[in-house]
Amino acid sequence: MTLDCPAPHHEDDRVLLGHGAGGRLSAELLGSVLLPALGAPDGPLEDAALLPGHPELVVSTDSFVVSPLFFPGGDIGSLAVHGTVNDLAMRGGMPVALTLSLVLEEGLPLSELRTVMASVGKAASGADVPVVAGDTKVVERGAVDRMFLTTTGIGRRLPFMRPTAAGARPGDAILLSGPIGLHGTAVLSTREGLGFEADIASDSRPLHRLVRVLAPLAGHVHALRDPTRGGLAAALNEIARDSRVGTEIDEARLPVPAPVAAACDLLGLDPLQVANEGCFVAYIAASAADAALSALRSLPEGCGAARIGEVVPDHPGRVVLRTLVGAHRVIDMPLGEQLPRIC
């Protein structure tokens, strides 16, 4: 019996889909190519940045390349609004204004563009935020896949609300505002025709109102993160790394909808690594945890909020899951989202 295995040569001179997936590969690309070129200072990578000279303002920008353009629970238009509004909200920012940039493929049916723009308008008015500037480019057929959108948002921070990825502290309760795994599985199921569309719709929605109900507890809200690409696993790892704290999560308390669990089982996906677009994870001082949970549950979009774990003084930077059968395992940073182009 031979006991050998090859050592392959790895490609590292090309951009791979995994570089855009929000996991380890994305972090490598940022650290090795993007940030050094910009002379970016070291420090946590936040969902939205403070505007220099204006400590009450935050800014965020995001591109949207989701395929397909339309999926149960949303489309690229509403997603482009919600994604940026939510990034602002994760720094305690309420949206003030958005800009919208469109890159359109030659030959795109105008009816699709109209539908997407109507959705942008509806989502923006639903989030009480005006779209104040924009740009449109058209490229030849094949240069983009139908349409790519980019939104930039400015937000004004709620008084005393200063959540940061580096803000979690031992003793904090970890709350999740709603169920996980819906967006990624809805998009995948639609794209691949897997037949889960009847049971699973994206959770795409604005989250700033949920953040606003936490305003009375502002000083106790230490960190917020919406687990988009890379899912909850990436979000928990990022906060643990940037806050230099340990995290313990209870598998039995994770709200995974039954159809999502079934789809993930069938496809070999981990619900913890599947993208979300309508929930956030909140690190709240233990003394305020019950009040925060009640506040989140007072809004329809927070009715499924749950306390899923706590920040611990041990194993800084590590996320540990208490499994259903009572053992412990480490939740690692995903290498890369297994589902490309989900937002």
Binding site: M1, C5, P6, P8, L16, L324, V325, D332, L335
Partner: protein, 368 residues
């Protein structure tokens, strides 16, 4: 959730563990053959909760891990050709061949696509007659029926632009190889439930009798595994060696006769090299002569392409359960899911990847 929550109940898990502690009077070594079972065991930490002395040995049952290097190199050679659309299940895309992997080929411009069923590849071939569509048909007895159906459908449609690169493997011959090894430590097997859902367990009966080894057909949920282990330990403790079926909700003794007949119509048994284990007689499936026109290796003339493996990682010892991933000097350092040296670190069902994902630390070594 009906039929899922019932098999993940913490209280029932605790009761099964207590029962196992009460039954086990001495150390026993049990192999779970299937990578899906390895994943559940490690993911849930079940192997660390078992009573002292009950040791799980992780078997070779990850179809991605055992796919021979030359099959992968042949896949890359075909995928790199102009006019070819190469389709595969997603977990094969990152498995390293000698020089590259399918994902990197795609980044360089090859038309490599993930499909969720071989029928998708057939539909693609029907829709794109100007392209040669190739499907990478790997896996155990579990995936063979669907792949056979795809070939039958392509034949029915008269598709001249669809072919399959076949590297199917069969479980019982691998079990025999392990049992014949004088160093074999395995005292009982958990057989893979989904393989038996197709094949049944009749072929395991002579194996169990000849080698005096209990074999328990087992499912994939935490409670399935705990119950499978309990049934195996009960047999070991009472000196019995039989085939038992824990997975009664999915498996019958005769398996699925329709699926088996489709497989035997399209495929025939052949010798096959297993990555890490070498050539095993009558351990694989290949297309019968009647369907040889759908053989991608023949169509693209890559059958003579042979790969040379060199000893960089201990995948073979891991696939046979002789060593643990954490025993490997490269584990977690030079070999991670980001830079896998071998297939067991690539596939979600690979033992090394399961250990790494669960944060298992390498075995401490002296500085000598």
């Amino acid at each position: 959730m009906k039929y899922l929550d019932e098999y993940r109940d913490p209280g029932l898990a605790r009761r099964l563990l207590d029962e196992l502690s009460a039954v086990a009077t001495q150390p026993w070594r049990i192999m779970e053959v299937c990578g899906g079972q390895t994943h559940t065991l490690v993911r849930q930490g079940i192997d660390e909760l078992l009573p002292a002395g009950i040791r799980m040995i992780h078997g070779p049952g990850c179809p991605v891990c055992v796919t021979p290097l030359e099959t992968l190199d042949r896949a890359m050679a075909i995928a790199a050709r102009p006019g070819v659309t190469f389709t595969s299940f997603g977990d094969m895309l990152r498995v390293p061949g000698t020089h590259t992997d399918l994902l990197s080929l795609r980044a360089r411009g090859a038309d490599v696509r993930v499909v969720y069923s071989p029928m998708e590849a057939v539909r693609l071939a029907a829709a794109r007659p100007e392209r040669q569509v190739v499907f990478l048909a790997v896996g155990f007895e579990t995936t063979a029926p669907a792949n056979a159906m795809a070939v039958l459908q392509a034949a029915r449609l008269g598709l001249r632009n669809f072919s399959v690169l076949v590297s199917h493997v069969l479980v019982p011959p691998a079990m025999v190889t392990l049992l014949e090894d004088p160093d074999c430590e395995v005292q009982a097997f958990l057989a893979a439930g989904h393989v038996c859902a197709v094949m049944g367990w009749r072929e395991y009966e002579p194996l169990s009798a000849r080698y005096r080894v209990p074999i328990v057909v087992t499912g994939f949920e935490p409670l399935d595994l705990l119950e499978g282990i309990l049934l195996a330990v009960r047999q070991l403790e009472s000196g019995r060696a039989e085939v038992a079926n824990q997975y009664v909700r999915a498996v019958r003794r005769q398996g699925n006769p329709v699926a088996r007949s489709v497989v035997s119509q399209v495929f025939r048994v052949t010798d096959r090299a297993w990555r890490g284990m070498g050539p095993l007689p009558r351990s694989g499936l290949e297309l019968t002569e009647e369907y040889a026109e759908f053989d991608a290796a023949r169509r693209f003339d890559v059958g003579r392409l042979h790969a040379t493996e060199h000893p960089e990682c201990i995948a073979g010892a891991i696939l046979t359960g002789a060593r643990l991933p954490t025993d490997c000097t490269a584990y977690g350092t030079r070999c991670t899911p980001r830079t896998p040296l071998g297939a067991p670190m690539v596939s979600a069902e690979g033992t090394c990847a399961a250990f790494h994902a669960a944060g298992r630390a390498p075995t401490p070594r002296s500085a000598s």
